[in-house]
């Protein structure tokens, strides 16, 4: 069963901004890590409040190089790397317990 956490987006530490993503796939095509789900699926999960899905993708979120290859070409100017940092902050705090 998929649980929706309506508070999830608001609980993130920073202005998570992916609403403009049109799922065009440019980011995926240019990603040196070939991260297929980042940002398209993952960001959608965050917007929908699928917190569990985000937690399951811990390795994907931490394997992003923050290199901005994707961002440099994103037609919707989604702040991809800033969003990844925000998701990392969430995992560091709530999953890895390093927030103190």
């Amino acid at each position: 069963m998929i649980r929706v956490d309506e508070e999830f987006l608001g609980s993130l530490d920073g202005p998570f901004d992916a609403a403009a993503c049109m799922s065009c796939g440019v980011c995926t095509a240019l990603c040196p890590m070939e991260i297929g789900s980042l940002p398209r699926e993952l960001f959608r999960h965050a917007i929908l409040g699928l917190a569990e899905r985000i937690r399951q993708q811990e390795d994907t979120i931490f394997s992003c190089l923050l290199c901005r290859s994707c961002e440099a070409s994103c037609p919707a100017e989604v702040p991809i790397t800033e969003n990844v940092r925000i998701l990392r902050r969430h995992l560091v705090k709530h999953q890895l317990g390093l927030g103190e």
Partner: protein, 373 residues
């Protein structure tokens, strides 16, 4: 089994909190590069290393050890390692680097300092107060450790009355220029990379560089801080034939460094892919140089110019036999502008002594760093 994120990030952030750096270096180790250069303590304009070049030998040693742990049973006891590290700095044992490697990275900082002097920029150095800025924990999202550390860094800058910072690597430049102003209210210190300053001042080469230079841009310089043209103009000004790899400038390809601490094997694969692209450009440059009938060994073989110590250690690690063709850009510029470092320093010292008192005062004025465009 992959490395335990909680343990690795925990050790790095505990170190930053307790010891002031992700991998603490003694004051002697992180200031040794400046020995004998007579750089004054403090001043309004200072060179700020953020300890990045000095940390590279330790980081690379630690990464090699971590890579050997990946998939080993030891990853399961890494959590215990973090507990011990809180009391005893085990990361120090894991990251003890060879003296020779440390000397190489120190020499790059010396070259940067000499190049700034050769361009007429006078600056101080904070010695023990030149602290790591926290780039790694910022990237990993451990912001609780970062905020307190950034306040310590800024307090030290304010205590020294610093108004302008000359940074030497992309990560420190980005942290101080773009991240700190968001973290610390009222942070208004001007931050510029030495490449931007040298570009504005201009270099006077003593000996022109012979041969093609393939440029590897750092993602952070190119896509976060828009430092793209300065390194190219500087290389051209010393006579280098600049060669652009297939992915360059704002389209540069990452060196893999940012994931080295958590996914060393993947980081190595990314570096190897970049090395392949650069090797292709080197071989094209080689064919072109041969076609023009250029004879010298350097003209034929070409060099890769790198402007970030993290890129340098990752790319050379993946380049294997051709690692010797990768050079920090400061080395290429200093070979041309400074030449024999010891003789240049001795000449300069003699020149300073011979200057009339009034002129010497002008040259020693620390306020000559040009303002931002």
């Amino acid at each position: 089994m992959p490395l335990q994120k909680k343990a690795v990030l925990g050790i790095l952030s505990d170190n930053l909190r307790r010891r002031g750096s992700v991998l603490p270096l003694s004051r002697r180790l992180h200031t040794r590069w400046a020995r004998g250069l007579g750089i004054p303590l403090g001043g309004e304009t200072v060179i700020y290393t953020g300890q990045m070049y000095q940390l590279i030998p330790a980081i690379s040693k630690m990464a090699r050890r971590m890579a050997s742990l990946e998939d080993s049973w030891l990853t399961r006891v890494m959590g215990a390692g973090r507990v011990v590290n809180k009391v005893l700095n085990i990361s120090w044992f894991l990251s003890r680097a060879r003296r020779r490697e440390r000397a190489v990275y120190d020499s790059m900082l010396r070259d940067i300092a000499l190049l700034l002097r050769a361009s007429g920029v006078e600056f101080g150095y904070l010695y023990g107060d030149d602290m790591y800025t926290g780039a790694l924990v910022h990237d990993q999202g451990v912001d609780s450790a970062l905020a307190a550390h950034a306040r310590r860094v800024v307090a030290a800058l304010q205590a020294h009355g610093v108004k302008r910072l000359i940074t030497v690597d992309p990560h420190t430049t980005h942290m101080l220029r773009s991240v700190y102003p968001q973290l610390i209210e009222g942070f208004e210190i001007e931050v510029r990379s030495y490449l931007e300053i040298l570009d504005e001042r201009g270099l006077v080469p003593r000996e022109m560089h012979d041969g093609p230079v393939v440029v590897h841009d750092s993602c952070v310089y190119a896509r976060y801080e828009s430092v793209v043209d300065s390194p190219r103009r500087l290389l051209t000004s010393i006579g280098a034939a600049v060669v652009e790899p297939e992915l360059s400038g704002v389209w540069t390809h990452c060196c893999g460094g940012p994931i080295e601490s958590l996914f060393p094997r993947r980081a190595h694969e990314i570096a190897a892919r970049r090395v392949e692209q650069l090797a292709e450009s080197l071989s094209t440059a080689h064919v072109e140089a041969a076609g023009r009938g250029e004879q010298g060994e350097r003209s034929q073989r070409g060099t890769v110019a790198v402007m970030c110590p993290i890129c340098l250690v990752n790319l050379t690690g993946a380049a294997e036999a051709s690692a010797g063709r990768y050079r920090d850009i400061s080395r290429l510029l200093a070979d041309s502008v400074i030449g024999d470092r010891a003789r240049w320093l001795a000449r300069r010292e003699r020149g300073q002594k011979a200057l009339p008192a009034a002129q010497a005062d002008v040259e020693a004025d620390p306020g000559v760093l040009p303002s931002a465009p």
